[in-house]
């Protein structure tokens, strides 16, 4: 069976995805900054689904290490999921460039660095897939989180370009734009319960979309409509809103 590499496997959506793929028989390679934190999850996944699971150290911001990291992977993954995201603090990022830079590095530059390597490999093997978890925040800049949003917008455009490039090599790229999800990243926010999904539901959506070779997935589905409206508001009005 094929192996899936999950980058940023400690996030709640990534963990739910690990369960989803393992349940469907895929082997897993879980990459995180500190792999010890995943020991218990590795045991759990192995026992529950009787698949092979390994955990590896991976630092998205240490670009120089990426070539070596990917080179050492054995077996090479059939699919790669980018699940790293860092919300940061918008207020702080407005006054502190270092913080803004950190947000951009974690959400955007790290992805370019590792996914370039992944794309080249999959392109030469002429098979496989890439799933990139971006965000609805990347669809339109809003005052409450535009630094994070702009990094995600960059990621969305990057993934669209990859999809275009890799199409002829039979490599599929899925861009995921989750709306509100109950995760560690959002635990301090007061999210509207009716619009907020559980990580497991989001993971099911992503798995389905990837298997069906969808290009862009809003999850849950109603974010399609919400973002359609958000994008349709004329800029002259949008700039006056407090979003």
């Amino acid at each position: 069976m094929q192996t899936i590499l999950i980058l940023g496997a400690n996030s709640d959506i990534a963990k739910a995805l690990a369960h989803e793929y393992a349940e469907h028989g895929y082997h897993l390679c879980l990459a995180v900054r500190n792999s010890e934190r995943l020991d218990e999850d590795v045991h759990d996944l192995k026992i529950r689904y009787q698949v092979e699971v390994q955990s590896l150290e991976f630092d998205a911001e240490d670009y120089a290490s990426h070539e070596d990291f990917y080179h050492k992977l054995s077996p090479k993954p059939h699919g790669v999921i980018w699940a790293i995201g860092y919300l940061g603090d918008q207020q702080q990022a407005q006054v502190d460039f270092e913080h803004a830079e950190m947000i951009v590095r974690a959400n955007y530059l790290g992805a370019i660095s590792i996914l370039n390597i992944v794309a080249n490999d999959l392109e030469s093997r002429k098979s496989g897939f890439i799933v990139g978890i971006s965000s609805v925040a990347g669809d339109r800049g809003r005052q409450s989180n535009y630094i994070y949003g702009s990094a995600k917008a960059g990621l969305t455009a990057y993934l669209a370009g990859l999809r275009n490039r890799l199409y002829s090599s039979n490599v599929h790229v899925l861009t995921v734009k989750p709306g509100y999800v109950y995760t560690k990243m959002s635990s301090h926010l007061n999210l509207p319960p009716k619009l907020t999904a559980q990580p497991a539901d989001v993971a099911k959506d992503i798995f389905q979309a990837q298997q069906k070779l969808k290009n862009i997935l809003y999850t849950k589905w109603y974010w399609n409509f919400i973002m359609m409206i958000v994008k349709l508001i004329p800029e002259g009005i949008f700039k006056k809103l407090s979003l």
């Binding site: 934190r37 218990e40 999850d41 045991h43 759990d44 026992i47 529950r48 560690k184 635990s187």
Partner: protein, 442 residues
């Protein structure tokens, strides 16, 4: 957020905290405040309610499994449903299970749950080999019947008041198929159903549904269900097309919102009970049913608690010692039938011997549990019933309780003082307290 137990009464405002690692929990416990742990919130009343609630949702990993001995070690937040899904296909089943699989292992230990096999296999704690508990000061202690046994026996059935159960190691039982051979027997009245229980002592599983609306010579008329795991040879006899350890996926219904209160009136309830009893035509019927149908019939209707409406309901479950069971049950059933308040789903069961866990509910004798839609008359009825239960030397199940008095608790749970002193020994600063434990002055 607003929180309640499965009975939707009482409701309180609480802050919910989650943790994914023991370290997370440790730093959580450093904050001041009173906490109680909550699994899936399936205890009926207020035992999982406090101003700060620690949810074990994200602490649900399986840590090891011994394929030869069937010994599993897992974190406390895992659901019985998950354990069944993982291990039934490999030929293993839970040693003890209550009537729902939507509870956690931590909850199963804290309530020391019993199942239809209590008369042979005891409660959950009998099958628990070891557990780790985090005390209020952040220390993690490993305990078992041989090691730190005070903590072990206080934590089994201890309603989460000694600390937070982190991991549990317990034994599963071997099964050959996921099916149960079930026999349903009709009992005319209470005396008859008790005879049938005695006669079914050799069966692994037995339970009776009792019509608490019938009176006079029909008082206590029931259907007794008894069952055994089906062997693979046995399954082939019934149907060769069924795969032994896989079962068809059940379609689940769901009650989408709180139903209006008038839905549960004396006529609908009476009609339901009548139909349920008459559904069985012969005095004995037998069939092979899958484990979900046998153990978890109500789980196929999600949110079934909503049929009682916004006000919620209370379940009253008591046990009477064997010596007073017959007279006591007769007297209490009369009182319930007279009140006309009891609803469907009254369940009768004969318990066997019980472990030394200090606050556990089961003891040898008969237990009866039934639901009441919440209304003021019900509280008055409970006062009468409490008096009778005390009189016959019985006690109430803390996991179901929402309104018992501390007087009742202290006079019915013989070892309550022993428990309190242990609780306050392990939890010096009083970190773990539920609304229930304060009401009962534990």
């Amino acid at each position: 957020m607003q929180l309640s137990g499965w009975g939707n009464y009482p409701k309180i405002k609480a802050k919910v905290h989650r943790f994914a690692t023991a370290e997370d929990l440790q730093s959580l416990l450093e904050c001041n405040g009173e906490y109680i742990v909550r699994g899936l919130g399936r205890s009926y009343g207020d035992s999982s309610l406090a101003s700060h609630v620690i949810s074990t949702d994200n602490f649900n990993r399986i840590l090891s499994f011994d394929e030869n001995k069937g010994v599993v070690c897992c974190q406390a937040g895992i659901q019985l449903k998950e354990i069944l899904n993982v291990f039934i296909p490999r030929g293993w089943f839970l040693p003890v299970t209550p009537g729902t699989k939507f509870i956690t292992i931590g909850g199963a230990i804290a309530s020391d749950v019993h199942g239809k096999n209590h008369h042979v296999d005891g409660s959950f704690s009998r099958h628990l080999l070891e557990m780790t508990v985090m005390l209020g000061d952040g220390r993690v202690i490993k305990c078992s019947p041989g090691l730190e046994k005070d903590l072990f026996w206080a934590t089994c059935g201890g309603m989460g008041l000694t600390g937070v159960i982190l991991t549990a190691t317990f034994r599963l039982i071997r099964i050959e198929t996921a099916y149960i051979h079930q026999e349903t027997l009709k009992a005319r009245n209470l005396e008859h159903v008790m005879e049938l229980f005695e006669a079914s002592n050799e069966w692994t599983y037995s339970v009776a549904w009792i019509d608490c609306r019938s009176r006079g010579k029909n008082l206590g008329r029931s259907l007794l269900m008894r069952g055994e795991h089906v062997t693979s040879a046995g399954l082939n006899e019934v149907s060769s097309s069924r795969s032994s350890l896989k079962i068809p996926v059940n379609r689940c219904l769901s009650v989408p919102f709180d139903c209006p209160e008038f839905l549960m009136n004396q006529y609908t309830i009476k009609a339901f009970n009548m139909l349920y009893y008459q559904r069985i035509r012969n005095s004995i019927e037998s069939s092979a049913v899958d484990y979900n149908q046998f153990f978890y019939p109500l789980d196929s209707v999600h949110h079934w608690n909503r049929i009682y409406g916004k006000r919620g309901f209370i379940q009253y479950q008591f046990v009477l010692p064997r010596s007073t069971s017959e007279a006591g049950m007769q007297r209490i059933l009369q009182e319930i039938a007279k009140s006309g308040l009891g609803s469907f789903l009254a369940v009768l069961k004969l318990f066997g011997p019980q472990e030394e866990s200090i606050l556990s509910f089961p003891e040898p004798g008969y237990t009866l549990g039934l639901d009441f839609p919440f209304k003021p008359e019900v509280i008055q009825l409970f006062n009468k019933l409490d008096y009778l239960v005390l009189h016959y030397g019985g006690k109430l199940y803390l996991t179901k309780d929402a309104c018992m008095s501390s007087y009742m608790f202290k006079n019915s749970y013989q070892d309550n003082q022993k428990f309190s002193s242990l609780k306050w020994r392990f939890d010096i600063s009083g970190k773990f307290q539920s609304i229930q434990s304060k009401r009962l002055e534990i």
